[in-house]
């Protein structure tokens, strides 16, 4: 039975992608698509398309980083010793640097060569959350972002270990002040609840014991490195998830990684991000077993997830995130952006509820219907209207080469509104059609 099954599978994946399939794949994995993207993917079958994306995402190359990121980090003396005027100036400079880093990330998100890698980078940013508002250092946020990018499709156990030692994370969840005499539970709790096992799969005692194991790790502000302060670290006997000993941070994470629930939890989150907010337990079990068997290889899990029938069956039934909405506009309409535009885009993505480097809280953005309320929906329309009015002209519209509603619908998600009318290649028509709710779907 094995051979016919493989034959059968290779037959169904052998066909090239239809235009709707390409749109679906790129909307879900790559922040939308350009005309060229659709053309490129129309020559690939599912297997090839997904391998292409995964290989592309493993590329290390980045757009050149902003200059002097480190210069304005928090490592130059103590903030509280500054005068009010100096504090104000430092804040201003930091915020400017942070904006440069946001712009840099936006550029890679909008660039199809990097989009899938950046989608995964954003996924991990939203998983191992930190807020610039709390961390206050552009440099540390940048370093954390680099960690997510470099491990975006790598080994999850590596990523988890490294995230626990990430300096922004140490500040964000107060582990930097976690000490033996009075442990601070903040990091230990979120590690179990939000990063690995999920609520309900540990006890309050597990949190207390894990918090003890994480005591004594401190950020050396001068050198921007992690150090272990022995007198603050609890070397005592601990019992965590039924294992006992002089457990340290690494041991705690290794115990977590042997728990089957970790694989399920991460798989569920990826399923919700890429396939549907309604989870399918049979699929979660299957995919999380694959993840476990691969020793937490994220690229293996993603490959199987994107090849699954559920992925291809759930089309145009999720709501784009603000970044996806903005990016799909930029890509589809081939908008040429200048530096100021990126500031405008950062401002709007914040208004719409998804400011890069500033998730709303440690749980991150929930996604799905939570993106939309009356304020955000009208703001999305406003953004689309402004973008088209300011950045599109007759010549650009002509280049789209869209002459009928059918052609329009082939390229965008659009309503049936004008089937019987003659299509007018005009800005107003684009505004009317793209501000319809259906364009918010992916």
């Amino acid at each position: 039975m094995r051979i016919p099954l493989i034959l059968f599978l290779s037959l169904i994946t052998a066909f090239s992608l239809s235009i709707d399939e390409s749109k679906h794949l790129l909307n879900r994995t790559s922040f939308g698509y350009t005309k060229e993207d659709l053309q490129r993917f129309s020559n690939l079958n599912k297997d090839e398309a997904i391998s292409f994306l995964i290989n592309q995402a493993k590329v290390k190359e980045v757009i050149k980083e902003p200059d002097n990121i480190k210069e304005l980090s928090i490592f130059h003396g103590k903030f509280k010793n500054l005068s009010n005027q100096e504090k104000k100036e430092l804040r201003k400079k930091r915020n400017k640097k942070m904006q440069d880093i946001k712009t840099w990330w936006h550029k890679m998100i909008f660039n199809s060569e990097y989009s899938f890698r950046e989608k995964m980078t954003l996924f991990w940013h939203n998983h191992f959350t930190s807020e610039y508002k709390v961390v206050k250092s552009p440099f540390l946020m940048y370093e954390q972002n680099k960690l997510f990018r470099e491990n975006a499709l790598g080994d999850f156990s590596d990523l988890l270990h490294k995230s626990s030692q990430d300096l922004a994370m140490l500040f964000y969840l107060d582990n930097n002040t976690n000490k033996k005499s009075h442990p601070n539970e903040n990091y230990a709790r979120e590690l179990l609840e939000l990063f690995t096992l999920g609520e309900g799969n540990y006890t309050e005692d597990d949190i207390k014991e894990a918090a003890r194991a994480f005591t004594g790790y401190r950020v050396n502000r001068q050198k921007a490195i992690l150090k272990k302060v022995k007198k603050e670290h609890d070397y005592g006997h601990k019992t965590f998830m039924e294992q006992s000993g002089n457990l340290d941070a690494e041991d705690i994470i290794n115990i977590i990684l042997t728990n089957r629930q970790t694989s399920k939890f991460i798989t569920t989150k990826l399923y919700k991000e890429f396939i549907s907010q309604d989870i399918d337990n049979v699929e979660i079990n299957r995919l999380s077993q694959i993840f476990l068997d691969s020793k937490y290889d994220i690229s293996v899990l993603m490959k199987h997830l994107l090849l699954s029938n559920n992925f291809w069956d759930n089309r145009a039934n999720m709501i784009k995130s603000p970044i996806e909405m903005i990016s799909s506009m930029v890509k589809q309409l081939d908008l040429k952006l200048n530096e100021k535009d990126y500031k405008f885009i950062s401002r709007y993505s914040k208004k719409l509820g998804q400011e890069l480097f500033n998730p709303p809280n440690v749980k991150g953005w929930i996604g799905g219907e939570s993106w939309i309320d009356t304020t955000s929906l009208s703001t999305r329309s406003k953004f689309i209207e402004i973008a088209i009015k300011r950045r599109i002209n007759k010549k650009i519209i002509k280049n789209y080469n869209i002459n009928t509603y059918d052609e329009f619908k082939n390229y965008f998600y659009a309503t049936n509104i004008g089937d019987k009318e003659i299509f007018m290649n005009k800005k107003d028509v684009y505004i009317t059609l793209l501000t319809k709710p259906i364009y918010q779907l992916k």
Partner: protein, 383 residues
């Protein structure tokens, strides 16, 4: 219950029974409940301070407030000095403090606990609807009521409402009118899938609300000066809605930042001060306009904080906490028994007043619904 109270309550009840169906009701018949979520888990022990408890000082060597940082309001309790307006309201009899709110088998996750508190579920039970959903469902929508409830500022729908309710979210009235004016009604492509239906419904609410708000709330004058903080801005917008002819029975406001794991003292004091300033301005104008009796302000949090401080000059997640109820109809004072500081569960308070008691009181006495789903729980006398 005293006879006088009974008559008063019956009068309110009969007024309220008329309210939802009487569109042309006089302005002063309109009632607004304002739920204020102190997001992150407010440290109630440093808000309402049991200053005679020795364990308060033993367990909080660096965080316990000193006598001169407390406004004494009762023999054993004082309010954080930053709550100066609430202190005044307490002394003049329109502020109630409800002690020890919580539930059984407390969950210490922010995200799960707020779900339990907002849906009034059991600790291990998952419910789809918020505790107030079925009450709001009784309010038919009309020209002056484009939605059953309103979220102002950064507050989220979270778990308070059921999906069938219309919930309007605005940042400010001015901005809402400006940004929603170009939205057209769009009833095409219904029923393709759930996400699109949901988007279409939001657009419907948007169109109706734009009409209602432009017509009834675009020119409301505010006389009082509000501070330039998020919470003050939110209360200012709420005041505009209340002073207008719009009739929305529930407004939710959230104040973020109460998750004070480290360096709590100054952060927490600033939050309380900002909250108190907002309340001060808001209540001031309500009183001048004779609207204070038509408004009820109720605070809640996912949990309180650990009694014992941690080593970061902060407090970790805890359990029970005290909350505030303010309004012209409120009978000021302390309600419920304050949790003991000598009998703790892993350094956490053991709750004394169930959240469902809180909700039963509000549903029975503010909404006049004594047959609500929590009516087997106690009723407190703060209304």
């Amino acid at each position: 219950m005293k006879r006088r109270e009974f008559i008063k309550i019956s009068a309110i009840l009969s007024a309220m029974i008329l309210l939802p169906i009487d569109v042309k009701a006089k302005k002063n018949n309109k009632k607004t409940l304002i739920l204020v979520e102190l997001n992150g888990g407010n440290d109630a022990l440093n808000s309402v301070i049991p200053f005679n408890e020795s364990n308060y000082y033993n367990l909080r060597p660096s965080l316990a407030l000193k006598k001169d940082e407390i406004n004494i309001i009762e023999k054993d309790f004082g309010l954080n000095k930053n709550l100066s307006n609430i202190t005044k309201l307490y002394k003049s009899g329109s502020a109630a403090i409800v002690h020890g709110l919580g539930y059984d088998s407390p969950n210490l996750s922010h995200f799960r606990s707020i779900e339990i508190v907002e849906t009034a579920s059991q600790s291990k039970e998952y419910l789809k609807n918020g505790w107030i959903s079925s009450e709001l469902r009784k309010y038919d929508l009309n020209e002056k009521r484009p939605a059953n409830a309103m979220l102002i500022g950064k507050s989220k729908k979270a778990y308070l409402f059921s999906n069938d309710l219309s919930v309007l979210k605005i940042k400010s009235i001015e901005e809402f009118i400006r940004s929603s004016s170009n939205i057209n009604d769009n009833k095409i492509d219904y029923n393709i899938n759930r996400s699109l239906n949901f988007l279409n419904k939001q657009e419907d609410i948007l169109v109706k609300a734009n009409k209602a708000i432009s017509k009834y709330a675009s020119n409301v004058d505010i006389k009082t000066i509000f501070n330039q903080t998020d919470i003050s801005n939110d209360f200012k917008e709420a005041l505009k809605v209340i002073k207008s002819d719009l009739d929305i029975p529930l407004i939710k406001i959230s104040q973020k930042g109460y998750d004070t794991h480290a360096n709590q003292m100054s952060k927490h004091n600033i939050l309380l001060k900002e909250f108190d300033d907002a309340i001060g301005s808001f209540v001031n104008e309500l009183k001048e306009e004779d609207l204070y009796k038509d408004v009820l302000i109720v605070t809640y949090s996912e949990f309180g904080r650990r009694v014992k401080e941690n080593g970061s000059l902060g407090t970790d997640h805890g359990t029970a906490s005290s909350h505030f109820v303010l309004g012209g109809e409120v009978k000021g004072g302390m309600y419920g028994k304050a949790p003991s500081l000598n009998n703790l569960d892993k350094n956490n308070l053991i709750y004394t007043t169930h959240y469902r008691t809180y909700y039963n009181t509000i549903l029975t006495k503010w909404f006049g619904n004594k047959n609500n789903q929590f009516n087997s729980y106690d009723i407190l006398n703060f209304l």
